[in-house]
């Protein structure tokens, strides 16, 4: 009798363990599978046929050894002798464009659902998928196709979740095609450095210029604000007080730091107002703008909150100028209740925009097809160029391992942006004070324009940014 009672318990425990092990097996690491000879896909999340072999006994054997760093399953490709390990396979990508090519897996950590930048992040991710698809259609890189669809994870703009998702995919990818958010990327930067994983940020904070593993493109928020204030002082009348309304953390803090520096340089009075994401949380900012009535407000939030602040401040009688940093703009603002105020009082700064003509822009339009234009697409597209250049360089060097890619990045002094950024941008070698690109643009809202913006001032570098000694990130310099 006693025997009977114990067996079901054991059976249940075993079944539960088996289920758990199933879960682990599916996102196992390259070290899991000892089948260099059979050539089966190490990244088991791909082929649905893998699941047919999901029996409890098998999973226990298959699951990894405790140390999960990439194992040297070295191999050669049909194209030649290129070394590779983590995140690169000889097997073709699922739904591959070139079935004879191997596959390079790149990870994406983006705010796809509930965070404040979800409306931008989805176009960014789509644009990147279109970009790499175009690369694949042109033959891939070094005999490999690039896959950015397999390891896409949502970070909800939360550093904790970002870290968790990063830990979940990092052993399956060669590099990160996108890590969205400044504070979120700051949460994983130590690990990125430790593991030597190259990452393309979907943010423009000044800290990235000092990180070797980060392949940033475009002017950072710090210089952007400096340029905006310089431009405003030169082109608008009666600017004597500046207020920075911004999110906390690297994103807003960086822009506010730049604004403070430029305000001091121009002899303007500066106020700092921090605000939390959420249209419900803007009453403090609105109140500050409406009561203190600064001549210029540098707005660094997301589009919904920007609309709330601009609209409600105007409704309370504010008549000054708002200049919003890049991610604060969305064409939808021109059909929102704040539309009138936005058209009257708002200007947008930014690192680039769709309306600027270039071969790259045309290629992007062709690759994307029929979409609702949004500078999220532009950004996702432009950001991918350095990684493509680095991968090509690494393939040329014959080393598509993580170390090889990092070495290629350290040689990267010229990236072909196909005209979307000036030639001097795209130099990752040398002192950031010399090589960091400092040019931004200023646009005004226009409901008829492609993304709702007409360029007022094409790429320019204001005097403050020109003369600024860039030895560390702006955010830590001035803020606490």
């Amino acid at each position: 009798m006693k025997q009977h009672r114990q067996w079901p318990r054991f059976a249940i425990v075993l079944a539960v363990l088996a289920l758990i092990a199933t879960g682990c097996r599916d996102s196992g690491t390259t070290a899991d599978v000892e089948d260099v000879d059979t050539g089966a896909a190490p990244a088991e999340t791909t082929a649905p046929t893998d699941t047919a072999t999901d029996t409890p006994t098998e999973t226990a054997a298959d699951t990894a050894t405790p140390t999960d760093t990439g194992s040297p399953t070295e191999g050669t490709t049909p194209a030649g002798d290129i070394a590779f390990d983590t995140g690169v396979t000889e097997e073709a990508c699922p739904d591959a464009v070139n079935p004879d090519n191997g596959c390079i897996y790149l990870g994406t950590l983006s705010d796809l659902t509930v965070g404040p930048f979800a409306a931008l992040a989805v176009p960014i991710t789509d644009a990147q998928q279109a970009f790499w698809n175009r690369v694949n259609e042109d033959g891939g890189i070094g005999g490999f196709d690039v896959n950015v669809t397999e390891f896409v994870r949502d970070n909800q703009y939360n550093p904790e979740i970002h870290n968790q998702e990063y830990q979940a995919i990092k052993n399956d990818v060669l590099a990160l095609a996108q890590t969205l958010g400044s504070p979120t990327t700051a949460a994983i930067i130590e690990d990125l450095n430790a593991e030597g994983i190259v990452a393309v940020p979907a943010s423009w904070t000044s800290e990235w210029a000092f990180q070797d593993v980060i392949l940033e493109s475009g002017v950072n928020y710090c210089f952007e604000s400096m340029n905006s204030i310089d431009w405003a002082v030169e082109n608008l009348e009666g600017i004597e007080t500046v207020m920075a309304v911004h999110y906390p953390g690297d994103y807003g803090g960086d822009a506010a730091a730049g604004a403070r520096i430029a305000a001091e340089a121009n002899g303007l009075e500066f106020t700092d107002v921090e605000t939390a994401p959420g249209p419900d949380n803007q009453s403090g900012a609105i109140s500050a703008v409406a009561s203190q009535q600064p001549d210029l407000v540098i707005l660094t939030t997301n589009p919904t909150d920007a609309g709330a602040v601009v609209g409600n401040a105007a409704a309370q009688g504010y008549q000054g100028t708002f200049i919003g940093t890049g991610p604060s703009w969305n064409k939808g603002l021109l059909t929102s209740p704040a539309a009138e105020a936005v058209q009257a009082l708002y200007l947008a700064s930014g690192p680039w925009t769709w309306t600027q003509e270039s071969p790259g822009r045309d290629a992007m339009e062709e690759a994307l097809g029929d979409v609702d234009p949004n500078d999220g697409y532009t950004s996702g597209w432009v950001w991918s160029y350095p990684l493509k250049a680095a991968l090509e360089q690494a393939a040329e060097n014959g080393d598509l391992t993580r170390e090889g890619l990092l070495a290629a990045v350290s040689e990267l002094d010229d990236v072909d942006y196909e005209g979307m950024l000036p030639d001097e941008a795209g130099n990752f070698v040398g002192d950031p004070n010399e090589t960091a690109y400092r040019g931004s643009i200023v646009s005004e809202p226009n409901p008829e324009a492609i993304v709702g913006l007409d360029v007022l001032q094409d790429f320019f570098v204001g005097p403050t940014a020109e003369g600024y000694d860039f030895t560390q990130s702006c955010f830590t310099t001035t803020a606490g």
Binding site: D280, S283, A308, G317, N330, P337
Partner: protein
């Protein structure tokens, strides 16, 4: 003085949103003794319906709102029949948690329709303001206050003078006796959820005017909870007053706290209703107008 006036109007306007949500909640509680956490979902559902009715279907605003109210009332009915009717007789706590589950489920479905972008609908007022002396009064707040006053008056009249309202009051008083008198208690349950749904839709419409609807809008409905408690769980009038009080306090704190007491932090206005809640409960544990529970041992 002008800032005070502006804050007061804004507070009363936002307060009417909370008052409507609290009202729906209290009506459900009084008739069915169920604590419903599904109001946020109904509110967002109603707002989304208005977005689609004015957008894709092209209805004018004043036609879309009643239609959305009706549809949300229907939704409330469906929720009551499917999720809550089987739970009659279960402990109160269990049913409350079930309404949380319902809330999550409805919100997932609604989020599917909302997507990731900002959704606007064109209301007749937008962010237009009226100038009364030195004070900029936003028209939408006036509209909100007026509509709420009319709706509340209509509800009171309904409860007091109509047969169905009398039936509902009787059921709230004593379900068994009402049943014995021939009142269809099931109909009363269904009707109370329907009314709550309609009120939530109206509240959602107000939230959307002058702003936008996205996946985070439901959090605004949580502010109705302190309103309910301050007013008292089973007092209909208390719900309205509680809602207005919460709105006014939030607005006043939002305007004056950053300068008067900055050490309280940014956006203290968001949590100020809860502080008031704690104070009220310390003095009157059943809210301002609630009836103390009498329990037989």
């Amino acid at each position: 003085m002008t800032r005070f006036g502006q804050s007061l109007i804004q507070g009363l306007g936002n307060g009417s949103i909370y008052a409507l949500l609290a009202l729906g909640f209290v009506i459900i509680y009084k008739s069915t003794l169920v604590i419903s956490f599904a109001q946020p979902a109904l509110m967002v559902a109603g707002a989304t319906m208005v977005v689609f009715l004015t957008g894709s279907f092209g209805l004018p605003f004043f036609a879309a709102v009643p239609v959305a109210m009706l549809l949300t009332a229907l939704l409330g009915l469906i929720v009551e029949r499917s999720a809550l009717r089987p739970m009659v007789g279960k402990p109160v706590f269990v049913v409350a948690i079930i309404t949380i589950g319902v809330d999550i489920t409805i919100r997932v479905v609604v989020n599917r329709f909302l997507g990731n972008t900002i959704r606007n609908f064109t209301s007749p007022w937008g962010l237009d303001t009226l100038r009364v002396g030195d004070v900029f009064v936003q028209q939408r707040f006036l509209a909100m206050m007026l509509t709420t006053a009319v709706v509340v008056a209509a509800l009171f009249a309904f409860f007091k003078y109509s047969r169905t309202g009398l039936a509902m009051r009787a059921t709230a008083f004593d379900q068994e006796t009402a049943l014995a008198q021939g009142i269809s208690v099931g109909m009363v349950f269904a009707l109370s959820w329907a009314i709550a749904g309609a009120l939530a839709a109206l509240a959602g419409t107000f939230v959307g005017t002058g702003g936008s609807i996205d996946q985070q809008t439901w959090i605004i409905a949580l502010k109705a909870l302190p309103a309910i408690i301050i007013g008292g769980l089973d007092s209909v009038g208390g719900a309205v007053i509680g809602g207005l009080v919460v709105g006014v306090i939030e607005a006043l704190v939002g305007t004056y706290q950053p300068t008067a007491a900055p050490w309280l932090g940014n956006n203290f206005a968001v949590v100020s209703p809860y502080v008031v809640l704690l104070i009220v409960l310390l003095l009157r544990p059943y809210g301002l107008f609630g009836t103390p529970e009498v329990e037989r041992v």
